[in-house]
């Protein structure tokens, strides 16, 4: 039998069985009421997305909530997102190097589809003017997630949003002098698609603000 100690004389005394039963019943009623209320308001289903440390961590290990939707039910695999990010950074570095050289040879390793065509056109235009393009930039943020490409919403879904600033320069191919330069801030969305074992840039929405 459960007992407690009385304050006087440290004598054991029986716990009120009736009172205990009453408390138990009240707790059960409260629990049923809460579950009923959650169910009636449609919130019961959301419990599976609740993040309860140790008991029910959410998102599960290896997944992150898609930053473009913020919907807890929309998860992306962290490893995939990391590869998309690193591939885009590598693609961007190579594209800038190609611009600096005025060569299109490396571009197919970095882009595909319409975006590749656009890059080729840009290099060709620069070459026609006898200049190459160089850029020095700093990225403030890089966000990776799933966001359908407006031009191919069903097939191209990986998107990387970059925000940053930098300085661009057009350099004469003949004498190596900088002909013009300006500072800029940029916000760009790049859509990538997997080609072989690598993600290539398939589309882009770039917004550049010139500062000087």
């Amino acid at each position: 039998m459960e007992t407690t100690r009385s304050r006087r004389g440290n004598q054991p005394r029986p716990l009120g069985g009736r009172r205990f039963g009453l408390l138990l019943a009240l707790a059960a009623i409260l629990l049923v009421g809460i579950i009923g209320w959650l169910s009636l308001t449609g919130r019961l289903a959301g419990l599976q997305y609740a993040n309860v440390p140790i008991v029910h961590p959410y998102p599960p290990a290896g997944y992150v909530v898609n930053p473009f939707t913020g919907d807890a039910r929309d998860l992306v695999k962290a490893a995939d997102a990391q590869q998309v990010k690193s591939d885009l950074l590598r693609d961007g570095d190579l594209q800038l190097a190609a611009f600096a050289q005025g060569s299109t040879a490396v571009l197919p390793q970095t882009a595909t589809g319409n975006y590749l065509a656009k890059l080729n056109q840009t290099v060709a235009a620069n070459n026609a003017q006898g200049v190459v393009y160089r850029e020095q930039h700093h990225l403030d943020s890089v966000v990776v997630g799933r966001l359908p490409d407006p031009n191919a919403p069903t097939s191209i879904v990986w998107c990387v949003e970059e925000r940053g600033s930098g300085q661009s320069a057009y350099v004469s191919k003949s004498n190596g002098q900088t002909l013009s330069s300006y500072r800029f801030r940029s916000q760009a969305k790049f859509w990538l698609t997997r080609v072989g074992d690598r993600y290539l840039v398939a589309d882009a929405d770039v917004s550049v603000t010139r500062e000087s």
Partner: protein, 304 residues
């Protein structure tokens, strides 16, 4: 005559007390009484032999704090070790009555019309007497301590210059490159961002003050692929830098890419006490960064 004998004995006792007892001064001030006793801790006043002159007893070869007159104790009762106490008090204004001193407690008899200088210039006078014998006080003249001679310089100007040079803070320079990731066959531009000027620094010892001045002379660029170039700091983007390098191989086998080293050299000169500058030598500091270089290698890729 009797007075002279007693005074001489007391004076000798005082000298013995000063010479033997490691005295200490608790507080020395105008008119304050300081107790000096044996075998206690505190600042030690070392004193030597005593001599006599016409004005009284002169203690010679003392040493104490710089700039202060070397005084036996500043005033107070001195334990002589034989049970009798000595009273020592600085003579106010270095003036004593021509007729002598009296008063039983070391005070001068107020006789403003007949005063004389107690001690010669450069010395400080003290009344020394026995607390048990009010009638016997003597004037003790103690030479004022001369300022300490300048210490012999043990550090050479060259050593001082090296000390000062070592204190010069290195400039914060950042090795930068364009493009951020290199490409084989493409000229990369390099430069050091920041101010390479180094602040002057000084070091002193005794009468010597040495100032050093550093001027950047040149920069040796090592590009990590076995090639090197001597030049300057380069020019920051978007100006085409005069420090350019074309990599022929990529850095695929290197975890962090090529290690780029800019060794910046400064010529250091030094001046002693504001004099003309002399050459001290060169000093060098390496500024490092890692640089990835990729291979420009057209390859077939499948296009959906």
């Amino acid at each position: 005559m009797r007075f002279r004998i007693v005074a001489a004995i007391l004076c000798a006792g005082a000298v013995v007390a000063f010479g033997v007892v490691p005295a200490y001064a608790e507080s020395i001030g105008n008119g304050s009484v300081t107790t000096v006793g044996p075998k206690t801790t505190g600042a030690t006043v070392s004193q030597g032999t005593a001599g006599f002159d016409g004005g009284g007893t002169q203690a010679a070869s003392e040493s104490k704090t710089n700039g202060q007159p070397s005084q036996p104790v500043g005033g107070g009762a001195v334990g002589s070790g034989d049970g009798s106490d000595l009273v020592v008090r600085q003579i106010p204004f270095n003036q004593v009555p021509i007729g002598g001193i009296d008063g039983g407690n070391g005070l001068i008899i107020n006789n403003p019309g007949a005063m004389r200088q107690a001690c010669p210039a450069g010395q400080t006078g003290f009344f020394v007497g026995s607390a048990n014998n009010n009638a016997a006080f003597q004037v003790v003249c103690v030479p004022n301590q001369a300022p300490a001679p300048p210490q012999a310089t043990t550090v050479s100007p060259l050593q001082l210059a090296e000390q000062a040079s070592a204190r010069q803070p290195w400039p914060n320079l950042l090795v930068s490159a364009n493009p951020g990731v290199g490409l084989t066959g493409l000229a990369s531009w390099f430069w050091c961002a920041g101010n390479a000027a180094m602040a002057d620094a000084s070091a002193s010892s005794g009468p010597l003050t040495v100032t050093v001045h550093a001027t950047m002379t040149d920069v040796t660029w090592r590009f990590g692929d076995g090639t090197a170039l001597s030049g300057d700091l380069g020019r920051a983007f978007p100006t085409p830098s005069d420090i350019q390098h074309v990599y022929e191989t990529d850095s695929a086998g290197l975890r962090q890419g090529y290690q780029l080293i800019a060794s910046v050299r400064w010529r250091v000169s030094f001046s002693v006490n504001g004099g003309p500058f002399s050459d001290l030598g060169l000093k060098t500091r390496d500024y490092l960064t890692s640089y990835l270089v990729r291979q420009l290698q057209p390859q077939a890729v499948s296009v959906p």
